[in-house]
Symmetry: C2
Subunit: 747 residues, 2 copies
Amino acid sequence: MSGSHLPWFQGGGRDVRDAEAYEFIDTETGPLLSSRSLEKQVAYEEGSTIDWLREEAAERERKRAMRSQRGLHGLLALVLDSAGMWLVIILTGVGVGVLGAWLDVLVKWLGDLREGRCTYGFFYNQVACCSGLDPGEICNEWQSWSEFLHVNSIFGQSLLQAAIYIALSIGFAGSSAVLVLTYAPYAFHTGIPEIKAILSGYVLDAFLGPWVLLIKALGLALAVASGLSLGKEGPLVHVACCWAFLLSRVFKQYRQNEARKRKLLAAAAAAGVSVAFGSPLGGVLFGLEELDTFSNDSDVMWRGFVTSVIAAVSLQYIDPFGTSKLVLFQVSESASTWRAFELIPWVFLSVLGGLLGSLLIKLNAAVAAYRRHSVLHEWPIVEVVGFTAITAAVSYLVVFLRVQSSELVANLFQECDPSKPDYHGLCNPTAVWANVFLLILTAMAKIGFTAWTFGMMIPAGIFLPTIAIGACIGRAVGLITQGLYRTYPQAWIFSSCPPDPTVRCISPGFYAVVGASAMLGGVTRMTVSIVVILFELTGALSHVLPIMISVMVSKWVADAFGKDGIYSIWIAMHQYPWLPARDFRDKGQTAAHVMKSAGSLVVISEDGQGCIVRELDELVRRHSFRGFPVVYGEQLLGIVMRDKLRACIEGLLAEDSAMDRKCTFLPPSRADEGGREIVNLSHLLEEAVLQLRKDVPLELVVNMFQKLNLRHILFSQEGKLMGMVTKTDIVWLLTADSAHAGALADR
Amino acid sequence: MSGSHLPWFQGGGRDVRDAEAYEFIDTETGPLLSSRSLEKQVAYEEGSTIDWLREEAAERERKRAMRSQRGLHGLLALVLDSAGMWLVIILTGVGVGVLGAWLDVLVKWLGDLREGRCTYGFFYNQVACCSGLDPGEICNEWQSWSEFLHVNSIFGQSLLQAAIYIALSIGFAGSSAVLVLTYAPYAFHTGIPEIKAILSGYVLDAFLGPWVLLIKALGLALAVASGLSLGKEGPLVHVACCWAFLLSRVFKQYRQNEARKRKLLAAAAAAGVSVAFGSPLGGVLFGLEELDTFSNDSDVMWRGFVTSVIAAVSLQYIDPFGTSKLVLFQVSESASTWRAFELIPWVFLSVLGGLLGSLLIKLNAAVAAYRRHSVLHEWPIVEVVGFTAITAAVSYLVVFLRVQSSELVANLFQECDPSKPDYHGLCNPTAVWANVFLLILTAMAKIGFTAWTFGMMIPAGIFLPTIAIGACIGRAVGLITQGLYRTYPQAWIFSSCPPDPTVRCISPGFYAVVGASAMLGGVTRMTVSIVVILFELTGALSHVLPIMISVMVSKWVADAFGKDGIYSIWIAMHQYPWLPARDFRDKGQTAAHVMKSAGSLVVISEDGQGCIVRELDELVRRHSFRGFPVVYGEQLLGIVMRDKLRACIEGLLAEDSAMDRKCTFLPPSRADEGGREIVNLSHLLEEAVLQLRKDVPLELVVNMFQKLNLRHILFSQEGKLMGMVTKTDIVWLLTADSAHAGALADR
């Protein structure tokens, strides 16, 4: 319908959808942008998708210009350029490492603050306060609040402790929420979905601003310390990317090229993971698998690797906790070998992990959708405070919930060792069933908490809670198996165990690791990176096999309930322009299935005597499509991008009487009749127009969008325009099936 | 010229080049194939390139058919399918592990055989023979040949030893060459270049046959044992792929789908590296970086990971040498930290590594080209025998050359340790300069030997020799630095060292590691995989930094003398249809630069009344192009692939009088005039014709070929056929600059 009253328009278009919703220019900034895009042709509006081809072309231009300089001068320019690039890489790595260390310290201190304080220095955390004691010596420097306030009655003590614990938790979480809401709304949640979208070409600079960096780091520390069921891994990736983005602004080569900027961000993301788990390789593989960057570009992979190693090294160098351990949860040497029969509990664990994983995803998605459309949407801070109160109250009652998740996990991964202090009677052989009950309770509570917390108005990662849940279940299963073994040591199934029961045959700590990997597999659907990250914990190669098996099985089970991992779900809910890498299988449809037929497109059509500048101007003003196909008669000439066209028209408007000048898109060779006064716009036609026949299988089209980062494909038959498919259509196609698609999209 | 006398042909073509040389059907098998391609439409001729789109489509068809089965039946089919897939994966992994272990044992035994024999069992190698002794006790069970033959005079002894050593070396190498030449010529060389080509879609089944597997494994063991300057890493990858290929023939799902087969091969290759170095992650990253498989398909990466872990585990389980060490050269804990000033010698080492690396490449390429066009080409066995004699003679004189490269490297990587026996006086502080001289001599000799050996008619890998060369140089530099420190302990540059000189400040063993990584970087131009592989040796994270730096620097230096690594060079020399992943930068050319214009193509042109079957038949017989564009008047209809067309024609020939029937490629809708008797071939037109305008930048074209695995792109302007670019053209374009391009190509 739109514009069909203009003679040289064909058809119209279902604007709201066609306009690539999230690529709309929001109305207030829209008009203003024009001036910007005049002075700088390649300026992307917030919310648009970058044109990789254009970016790479620009980069090539830059390099070529540099190389073209003769002799020493040119060489120097090249060297400086590459030096600058590596400087940024190194700065990113170091910065991320420092940020990570700083966060660790802050979190530990705030967390301990809920229990008590250090007598000789308010700013020491418990460990630092009690350091330098002989083993066995009790630490008097660290006072619980009740001691500090000289409350003597047992009842009073516990009441006071609980009150302070809950109050501080609420205080931390609340202030975190306030910070986020007031200064940087983008700083909430994990950030990985957005990072994925951005890396794939989505433009969302506000998401990486300096304020976000500051608030997210601070808010994250507060949120984690508040004891809510959330982790710092995902947000750390976001923080790392913010930092890299900040740096990229300083260096011209990055500032001016979106593609390069994204490659740097990819490296930063890898560094973030590397710091979060202390596994550089895990970071790189995470980048490969989850963010699927680096694909077919080994240079980028190399940079990512360098960055994450540097980050890890600087973290280790700073060494926040005096234990020169890099990995998050050091695992004591578990039993050097495992027996075949253990595969039974492990597979059981994996299935469980898969089920609970997809359950967690579904719960979380449902909660997010509900939150969006309920009154909670208006009162985010109230929600955070209220839910923190509940969490804190419950957590204080259950011993395993009270401590930080990371501490819990670390202890669950540990094998029982007479020489070490027993953690809350976890190794007490008489209390097996009590422990099992407690662990399962903890796991269930955490699932509920996590499903709700992940998505509240605070920075929150889902990695650590998932690991904690898995570890609890795993340890429980391990304890059960061990219990069975202790009761029936002679049963044929245990025949492979050493005869004398004093030798440990079953190591529940490793069961916890298996459980964690299974749960992770179920929630994130990652494979290699999980195994690598957990491998660096256990060390022994032979223990990689069980981990691999559990990840694989749980992924299978979980996939049966929906293919998407938690991050993909959130992307689908936001409807970011991101294409899942998983290969799409059509049911025999062809491109025609998604194609918008030529009739429904807004087309600039050249009938011999060209069109009028004014009309083009109106066209550009009326429609927010990214580009307009140009046809001559029925023949497809090419496509002209909206921003280019607008910039050019505004250029023309400078001269007077331009409005009524004629213009043509025909190549000068063919359009030179008409002579001077006709404006030739053929140079605006995009140079790389991809044309396909509309009866190619749909899969192929999706595949090309995925691999080539295209924004649109034109379909032609013998040169006639048949229709066009934009990235949006593909995103819609791929996310259509997922339950809450678009639930959180702003429009 | 060709066929231009047929009315419905346009132009001709420079056959020799256009026919995608290596994709020729060699004349003897050509005719025979026809029958094959009749009974099975998708049969690739040896030497052709597979059509990924077609393969994937076929795979989708299969899956869809399976899913379409209703209820339990369908589910079962799916489960069985996936179970079969994993079974193959596991079998591959285990098989590769066993092969690796078996090779190790054989090599060690053969190698030791050159020195002596075990009294109580001929088939024990030295280590096994002398096992179970108390430290300090001398091993009497192992007799050198002179002892065995009771030769007493010193002179006689050494003469005899030398004679046997050299004789056996020649015997081993010679028999290896005979085996290769007689039974499996494809088994010579490393095989990685071919693997790369195959993984990218080149069809060369003979290269992976069972005979190749057997001969390569056996020949490799002999060649390595002969003490020639070669390694087993590369060939092991080839062997692994042969094994996987063998398995793939057993399982229908793989046998019938080239794409799936290649994904399995990729996994096998990763497993090969994982076994060769005992680093599963190194294997995966090698697959990512060097073979650049797995790109944007995390499933394949996951399978590769699983395979290589399984392979590594089964190797460790078999544990050929009783040391339950997996990694090839265990490194004793080197100094926990390194000092800043050490960067100077390390950077020096890296530059050296880069220079020597590219020198080695150039030498090797020159030798290969010379061998091909000299008399040596006729006498491969003579060459092997002769060169082995030289190598053995020289090696016997130089102590570091006499031992197996792997043993040498292992010792060079070790730090000096008073508690351990000193290796040939390497740690003798008084003999520093003698050692340095000896090491440099060894390195030089090895460079020469390797440059010649790598390419002789025996299985030979270049990884280990490169590492050895680097290790020698590194150790030498380390010794020099240490010597300087010992002489001037007070020099300001050494101020960061601990005051008392008894504490080790400089650890030459680690210098050897750095040297090895630098050399590897220079020769292979890999980055991440090298670092990961060497990282697993040293362990300490802080030591990754120097390794990274050295790899990076040496790569820079080497790239200045040519961008291609040794494998790319060999691919270029063979002119395999493989596109290097490195991004290509044009100098402003457009596609027109490589495009074959429509005039020079053999085109099937539809003028209204269609063409005659006989003419098509002649066309197919005369021309060996993979495909023919079809035009109607000037309009491009699409492209028809040669094999499809031929199969269809042969189908027609079954009926009589078919030869004179008319046929058309117009869609039935438009071609129904003429009615029944006209054969409609429109279904043969390839469904996914990619069309571009001929003025797109050349880079973009190359990029699309690289990312989409295309075989050709058609260029059209407003529907008119402008020209076409085939993968060949791009390969020619990319390899044109390298010195010896096509030097070894068969035609």
